[in-house]
């Protein structure tokens, strides 16, 4: 016990400076991680409330809880908040910010001031979107399809659009920072193929952020121009093509899915290795599959437009490319599964989330094969099938990964452990609630229930009731970590520097880490996940 108390008293990034100024003007990547966690948790709760209201409205086939107009605003805000204010920054800006310098043995990211600026830019954009809600919200859906968004909608499209535009720049700043950091600040000996797979996936994510986000920015700018100056860039009356907007939008928004899920894949690689106490099977394949996803992810956006008026030949091209991008995802799933084989598997909370991720991501990915198949997509696109599919990827995938990562590294971030049994229960509740919410939606979609419907034919009600029941359970599952992790922040038992006995530079420094991470720059001599080579340090037989 005495040694643990001493660890807690060691000066760390949380205690070294005090006061609100030291937080708001910090350039410490670890503190910026916490600023981001606070911000995105707030937005997640907000988006979650919108989701619950949507589900409650859909409990009955008629519009009785809210009006159709309000319903449309609810799903639009749910999408906008969850995509741009939660999922896009979720893992990169929080865990990525915290861990990239620690994993590569650096004192900070390459541009610490830019890092802080990105948080402020994010907050300004986020607050602008909140201001849009306060002024009545937006009803275009998160997709902003023209000409509805430019001519027909009477809601706060311009304000919200500017907000997202600004948030986009925060994402670009983060991406630039990470790319440069991973290139330039690796400690001696930390070669590319010694890096933890989390870094490979974040590097790929950053590439996507840097190259996709500007196209969204310009597409939104065109919409804003069109609304503010009443000029028709996409307006069919002048000969403009609304489908062109969809091209530009999906050039960003399809790769954006990989911004959301690639970091989670990185987290899962770390967790699966740590809790199997074994190197990730086929390291090189898993590493390059991240890069492949990032690159191929840019070639498939047209599969969102198979029935949108895109040409048949273009649809054929995008369909075959979509199947190509599914291959590296499959490789990852196979390799994670193979990692468990003959491992030393321990089902702690992070591992439960990781295994949950693999299961849900497999279902999400496989239903992706359905929507990439041209013939089937004609029927299921714009229905609840697609809703279920992308929630399996973004919630079942990205959010499970985020929660898993949060639990895995919480002892490092806060220096304290959370209540393990409560956490395991929460993980199971999330898994069950999630499946109950979204699996019925596959059936709904196959039956033909279109998305964004405030009212629907009564014969589909029973599936909606299941889904709403699941959403309620899911909400409980999400509230629990919020409460016990907050509790653990001050009251949890001290964690020690390496509670999981995992490899990686971040586990070799004290928890919480000192302000400058490493007193002397470490020299890396081990590959990632080299349990055999580090068995003395880790106390393994």
């Amino acid at each position: 016990m005495i040694s643990k108390i001493r660890i807690a008293e060691a000066p760390n990034y949380l205690t070294e400076e005090q006061g609100i100024r030291s937080w708001l003007l910090t350039t410490d990547h670890k503190r910026i991680c916490l600023l981001y966690i606070a911000a995105i948790t707030f937005f997640f709760v907000l988006g979650g409330i919108a989701a619950l209201l949507i589900r409650l409205e859909l409990l009955t086939p008629v519009t009785d809880l809210v009006s159709p107009e309000t319903y449309n605003k609810l799903f639009s805000e749910h999408g906008i908040i969850m995509v741009w204010l939660f999922l896009i920054p979720s893992i990169p800006a929080t865990l990525g910010n915290f861990l990239i310098p620690e994993m590569i043995g650096a004192k900070d990211v390459a541009f610490p001031k830019l890092n802080l600026a990105s948080w402020y830019v994010f907050m300004i954009g986020g607050l602008l979107i909140m201001y849009g809600i306060a002024r009545g919200g937006i009803d275009t859906g998160w997709t902003f399809y023209t000409p509805f968004s430019t001519i027909y909608s009477t809601t706060e499209v311009a304000v919200t659009g500017v907000g997202i535009f600004i948030v986009g720049f925060s994402s670009i700043m983060t991406g630039v920072n990470f790319i440069v950091t991973i290139h330039r600040l690796r400690a001696p000996g930390m070669t590319w193929f010694r890096m933890p797979l989390f870094l490979w996936s974040l590097y790929s994510t950053s590439v996507v952020m840097v190259l996709a986000t500007p196209v969204l920015a310009i597409a939104l700018l065109m919409i804003i121009w069109e609304r503010v100056f009443q000029v028709g860039i996409f307006s069919p009356e002048l000969g403009g093509d609304p489908v062109l907007f969809q091209h530009l939008f999906w050039f960003y928004s399809h790769p954006a899915v990989y911004i959301m899920v690639l970091p989670s894949m990185g987290v899962v690689s770390e967790i699966v290795a740590a809790f199997s106490r074994k190197a990730v099977f086929g390291y090189v394949f898993v590493a390059f599959s991240s890069v492949a996803i990032a690159v191929l992810g840019f070639l498939v956006w047209g599969h969102h437009m198979f029935v949108a008026g895109e040409s048949v030949y273009s649809a054929l091209a995008f369909s075959v490319l979509s199947y190509l991008v599914a291959v590296p995802s499959a490789i990852k799933v196979f390799n994670w599964s193979a990692t468990l084989y003959k491992g030393s598997v321990s089902l702690d909370t992070p591992m439960l989330y990781a295994l949950g991720f693999i299961g849900l991501f497999t279902i999400g990915g496989m239903t992706g094969l359905f929507v990439a198949a041209l013939g089937i997509d004609v029927h299921v696109t714009d229905t609840y099938f697609v809703i279920a599919h992308f929630h399996y990827i973004m919630v079942g995938g990205a959010v499970m990964g985020y929660l898993g990562g949060l639990h895995y590294w919480w002892p490092k971030i806060s220096g304290r452990m959370y209540p393990e049994r409560l956490a395991k229960a929460a993980a199971l509740i999330v898994f069950l609630g999630f499946n109950l919410t979204f699996f019925p939606q596959f059936v709904l979609g196959w039956l033909g229930m279109p998305r964004r419907y405030a009212a629907y034919p009564p014969e589909w009600q029973w599936l909606h009731i299941l889904s709403t029941a699941g959403a309620t359970i899911l909400a409980v599952g999400y509230l629990m970590p919020l409460l016990y992790l907050t509790w653990a922040w001050k009251r949890g038992p001290l964690a020690g520097h390496n509670p999981w006995r995992a490899t990686g530079l971040e586990w070799q420094i004290s928890s919480p880490p000192p302000k400058h991470n490493f007193e002397t720059t470490p020299i890396v001599t081990h590959k990632a996940y080299d349990y055999a080579g580090m068995k003395e340090e880790l106390g393994l037989v």
Partner: protein, 347 residues
Amino acid sequence: MNSLDVLPATASTYANELNSFFWVMVALCGVVAIAIAVFIVHCAVKYRRRDPDELPDQIQGSNTLEWSWTSVTAIIFLGMFGWGAKTYFDAEQPPPDTLNVWVVGKQWMWKVEHSNGIREIDTLHVPVDRSVRLTMISEDVIHDFFVPAFRVKQDVLPQRYVTLWFKATKPGKYHLLCAEYCGAKHSGMIGWVYAMESHDYQRWVQESGAEGSLASTGEKWFHQFGCANCHRFSGHGPGPDLRGLYGTSVTLDTGVTRIADEAYIRDCIVGNKGGAVFGFKGIMPNFTGQVSEEQLIALVAYIKSIGRQFGTELDSEPGTTLESQGVHSGIVTPGITSNAGSKPGVR
């Protein structure tokens, strides 16, 4: 109505074809997903950590295994693509002999016009065992015409015709839904498709009592808007003779060849995409804002009816002026203002 149905009605030829594809996919993916799940659970139980200090054998990977599951996966995926592509490519192309129906979407209703002049709102009556081709356009935002029982769906765009076709196989009453978000009452933009036995359909047509075919309405507009002043059937007007235009291939100023389909004819009247392209630049007035979508449909149907005869029965009611004239293929380019490269060509 079975309230616990988990399967949608299957009532078209395409729906039948798609069902088999879908269930094969479900079976294939289901087997793989279950296999992965079983493997994971098996490993989690069999190789559970028995001693906190345990260090398992370090297996790094296997290139043979990696390359084999990569290539097998890729091949299976390409197979899926092939099957999906084939169903889609076939399904996108209507057969030549179709019953033609026009659909106009607007916030928030579906307006249907049959070639024989019958109009409907939010309902569509079709005969079974007959290919039906819908030519659709929106008056405002993007809508989407979706009939789950037929497994067909197509975004309906403003200022541009799009096509969708199906062949109903089972009489019944099926949902017609708007699947592209279109504003406040998006979920109210729904209706019914009635697939009827042939004789029931015929009776419905007679009871509906249309005033005249769409093409004859179009002919009326053709004169009313002054189209006939330039597009004379003598071939000597300032505009080209439109007889036989439909279905031919025209070469535009830009060198692009385009089939003179419904979309092209519409573009020539109101759009800028087709209007100035085939050598009559500056002559044809732009009718944007002067002609409603319904009038346009009638005009296009009329010009189509004086086009080459594709053996369509129900909508081939040519204008009275046509019968004695014979039908040309292609456009006769008049001397004035003709540009190079505007020669009509036939594929």
